[in-house]
């Protein structure tokens, strides 16, 4: 056993290196919690509005599906392209992920299963499909603080559809994805749907709706 060689060849999932700049003026401190609070308040308002049928007309710019909001805006907020695996949280065991979701996991049929990441109630994993990375995120609608937000521009296509009998959306084109505790990031094509008692999200830059549906059909409860 060559321990030193083994250590050198470990491939770590380092967080993405940020672009560092020579900022000589004091910087404003990052404010992460207020963003979550703002999103949570928006969701609370949304839920209240949805509870009153006659008010639906005033919230046409929002869509909501199991802990995820989709907001259409005129101009997308500033965001950068980042790796799909960035900011997903630490790697956890299946048991830890299951406990966080309070629900059985849904996994692609890969051996070994890809590492699971957990961030504020959202379980994520990245796997390769036909040579392209795909991100699968799972959240239980009832889990605490599990809030994802997608901001779409005027040219982004959002289609409501059924996936395996459950409600869903196909989002194609440039949009911004807000993940808990991670900077906004430009997202690829996304299938968002509810199945197996969870809200599920598949994302890949090369993902087509047909392939996303196939992958959705391959997912199995652990």
């Amino acid at each position: 056993m060559d321990l030193e060689r083994d250590l050198r060849t470990l491939e770590l999932a380092w967080p993405e290196t940020p672009e560092l700049r020579l900022e000589l003026a004091p910087r404003a401190r990052r404010r992460r919690r207020p963003l979550l609070v703002a999103v949570a308040l928006a969701l609370a308002a949304l839920a209240a509005a949805l509870a009153v049928p006659q008010s639906r007309g005033s919230i046409l710019r929002f869509l909501h599906l199991g802990g995820v909001t989709i907001e259409r805006v005129d101009q997308l907020p500033a965001a950068r392209e980042r790796p799909l695996g960035a900011g997903l949280g630490p790697v956890v065991t299946q048991a830890q992920a299951r406990e966080a979701l309070r629900h059985a996991l849904v996994l692609p049929p890969l051996a070994p299963p890809p590492p699971l990441h957990l961030e504020q109630g959202v379980v994520s994993l990245v796997f390769a499909d036909r040579g392209e990375p795909v991100l699968l995120s799972e959240l239980n609608v009832g889990s605490d603080a599990a809030i994802l937000k997608k901001v779409v521009g005027g040219s982004t296509s959002v289609v409501s559809l059924q996936v395996d009998g459950g409600p869903g959306f196909w989002i194609a084109g440039e949009h911004v994805f807000l993940f808990p505790s991670a900077p906004p990031r430009l997202a690829g094509n996304v299938l968002l749907w509810q199945a197996h008692g969870l809200t599920l999200r598949l994302e890949g830059r090369a993902l087509t709706l047909a392939r996303a549906r196939e992958l959705a059909g391959l997912l199995r409860k652990e």
């Binding site: 056993m1 321990l3 030193e4 083994d6 250590l7 050198r8 470990l10 491939e11 770590l12 999932a13 380092w14 967080p15 290196t17 940020p18 672009e19 560092l20 700049r21 020579l22 900022e23 000589l24 910087r27 990052r30 992460r32 695996g85 900011g87 949280g89 630490p90 790697v91 890969l110 051996a111 070994p112 299963p113 890809p114 590492p115 990441h117 994993l125 990245v126 796997f127 390769a128 499909d129 036909r130 040579g131 990375p133 505790s181």
Partner: protein
């Protein structure tokens, strides 16, 4: 050195050349990406302000890493969520793995090794992480950890022994 004469652009090029290693050193110390970003950012600004005191005959990287690591140590003391080091996502079945079985065993061994490294006491873990995960030289590791080169050597040797005990081959 142009940067020492106040050329911000030249310094910007230096920052770009070293930002990844600076960020990763800070991440190893803080175990938090946001804290590491702040530490690296502020460390590089401090380094710019202290550039006049840098002796151009010495290598720049250890000097930069020392400043950034100091910033990271200051931030580590604040409360915050600590992240675990993680391996890159498993390779896809279609990639160059010899077979799914061998790939599974290899992935498992790598996960066990990282877990054993993660369980080492902090000084030992940092010494090995700087030397082997980041590939820093002994001098650079000494600068980042704020210790002498000889301390890096002895600390690394002891840490490897401990790691061997915690991560033996499977029976």
């Amino acid at each position: 050195m142009r940067a020492q004469r106040g050329d911000e652009r030249a310094y910007g090029e230096l920052v770009r050349a070293h930002q990844e290693i600076a960020f990763r050193v800070a991440y190893l110390i803080t175990r938090n990406a946001a804290d590491a970003e702040d530490a690296a950012q502020d460390g590089l600004v401090k380094a710019w302000r202290a550039l006049g005191r840098f002796r151009a005959v010495e290598p720049l990287r250890p000097w930069l890493l020392r400043i950034v690591a100091n910033e990271a140590r200051n931030r580590r003391r604040s409360a915050g969520r600590r992240e675990h080091l993680a391996l890159r996502a498993a390779a896809s079945p279609g990639e160059a793995a010899p077979s799914p079985e061998e790939a599974a065993v290899d992935a498992d061994e790598r996960r066990r090794l990282l877990a054993a490294l993660d369980e080492l006491p902090e000084q030992a873990r940092l010494a090995l992480a700087c030397r082997y995960l980041l590939g820093l030289s002994e001098d650079e590791t000494a600068a980042a950890l704020g210790v002498r080169r000889g301390t890096v050597k002895s600390r690394s040797a002891r840490a490897l022994e401990r790691l061997r005990e915690g991560y033996g081959p499977r029976a």
